[in-house]
């Protein structure tokens, strides 16, 4: 169980997060959605232990993440930042191997194949397109998952689908879902901006608005009225079989 309790985050006298509390049972994928500036990345960073909350706590199976020794945190959590830039001309292979996976080249190769970047292994990452670079960083995170299947308990991806085309968006989501299924004690949280994808792929969805929880629960319970109020834009939800599509209506003049 990943428990977030009464998190408040203040930076430069601005409240970025306020009274955030929820429990995520093991085996579930949580999607965090919300309009620009709602606090998605802030919440992800607090959960990952990168930012210290002003008050409140986050614990993973009763171990407070903020109190974990750095090395343990590095092993138990797998993190992907929203913005990934690499200084200097590191190759794709070198970037994918940065992490505890460096000792297990097989796990790096498998993840590079998963995200279709094994052909680019020797290229400098800076010479790739934005979407290809994002796939390399996903391969880096999934290499860590492959390399230490018993250690990583929480996968935290901030906007993992940035710049990816449809094929790789689905590859990323299904890879995360499969990873969750392999062992019972695993958790995954993703910040996403595609509402429909989040509602399709996630077990639970958390809607953030101005640093506060507007809704948390099963995607089926999300209404058009809720989305329109949070995004301040006319939206339509279309549910078909297991797929959910959210699209914008023409704005009223």
């Amino acid at each position: 169980m990943l428990s977030v309790a009464d998190i408040t985050l203040e930076k430069s006298q601005r409240k970025l997060l306020q009274d955030i509390s929820f429990d995520l049972p093991a085996g579930q994928l949580l999607g965090v959605i919300g309009p620009n500036g709602a606090g998605k990345s802030s919440l992800m960073r607090v959960i990952a232990g990168l930012w210290q909350a002003s008050s409140g706590s986050v614990d993973l199976d009763r171990a407070f993440i903020a109190d974990m020794p750095l090395a343990q945190k590095g092993m138990q959590l797998a993190w992907l930042d929203q913005q990934n830039t690499v200084a200097f001309d590191f190759s794709v292979q070198q970037v994918a191997a940065l992490g505890p996976q460096e000792a297990k080249p097989i796990s790096v190769t498998a993840a590079m194949q998963l995200f279709g970047v094994e052909q680019l292994a020797e290229r400098a990452i800076s010479t790739l397109s934005g979407g290809q670079q994002q796939r390399v960083h996903l391969a880096r995170v999934f290499s860590q998952l492959n390399a230490s299947p018993e250690a990583v308990q929480c996968l935290l991806l901030d906007e993992p689908l940035n710049g990816l085309d449809l094929r790789w968006q689905h590859r990323c989501l299904s890879a995360a879902q499969q990873w969750l299924l392999q062992r019972p004690e695993r958790h995954a949280v993703m910040a996403l901006h595609d509402i429909g994808l989040a509602m399709t792929a996630c077990d639970q969805v958390l809607v953030l608005n101005e640093g506060m929880i507007e809704f948390i629960g099963a995607p089926a319970e999300i209404s058009e009225a809720l989305l329109e109020r949070v995004w301040r834009y006319p939206l339509t939800i279309q549910r078909e079989n297991s797929q959910t599509l959210v699209y914008a209506k023409a704005e009223e003049q």
Binding site: K73, T85, F88, Q94, V95, S126
Partner: protein, 322 residues
Amino acid sequence: MRLLPWLFLLLLIPLALSLGASGFAWSTDSLVLWEIRFPRVLMAVLVGAALAAAGVMLQGLLRNPLAEPGLLGISAGAAAGAACVVLPARLLWPDIDLTWILPFGAAAGALGFSALILLLSERFGWQENTAVVLCGLALNALAMAIVGALLVVADPLATRELLFWNLGSLARATPASLTVISVALAMAALLWFRLARQLDFMALGDEAAHSAGVGITAVKRQLLISVALVAGIVVAFTGMIGFVGLVVPHMLRLWRGPAHVPLLALALPCGASFLLLADTLARTIISPAELPIGVITALVGAPFFLWLLVVRNGVWRQRGIG
């Protein structure tokens, strides 16, 4: 392949020892060879290795391929410290021997300015690399202003001494200075080899490195202190030798890629060879007179730096790190 640079250095040392004012000769009497040339050759090896390795670590630490020890105001601080001691001393006691006074003043200045940059970095919480570089630039300007102001009131002889120190020279190598520099370099190199792999993680950014278990603040603090100490000690004994710390890491990165452990392992012998070559040129090219070594390294370094700016900067800007 890994041994190649060391082999090159080993071949270069006897060549440098045998080259002198009278051209190429092994027959020079042993006094000149062992008492004058040998300490100087050893000094070139140690200082070149130290400056290049410090450059590798500083560029990795600041994620900035344009960083070198001089950038943080450490060298300029040494110049200011030297000026503060030398100029008044010459004014008060015209016959005073400056052999130890100058390095002492320079070391005090270098360490003083290092302390300032460290305090400022702590204040920024070690997150803002750009802020650290900007502080270094400001400190640089401050130190050069102190030197400039003192030079106005100084007598011509002291000015000349200071100018020559500023240009850098390895001629002041003594057993004592060699010992101090080799101890400092050995201790720093041990630390740097331990931290070099962490710099690869830090190339992904502080947060990605932190989430991979790298203690960002501790690594940055240890690296900045050790680089400042090594650069301060080197500059105190040799004066300002620019561009080694900038050019050598770049050439090596172009040759063998950016991973910091192999880069550091290469920077030690290659920096040593680069400076030994430069110094051998400096003392033979217009013999019996000699050029300040800072002139040679800058003559090679400045055009290379410009080439980097013009040809390579477009690539850096594209990656948002230039």
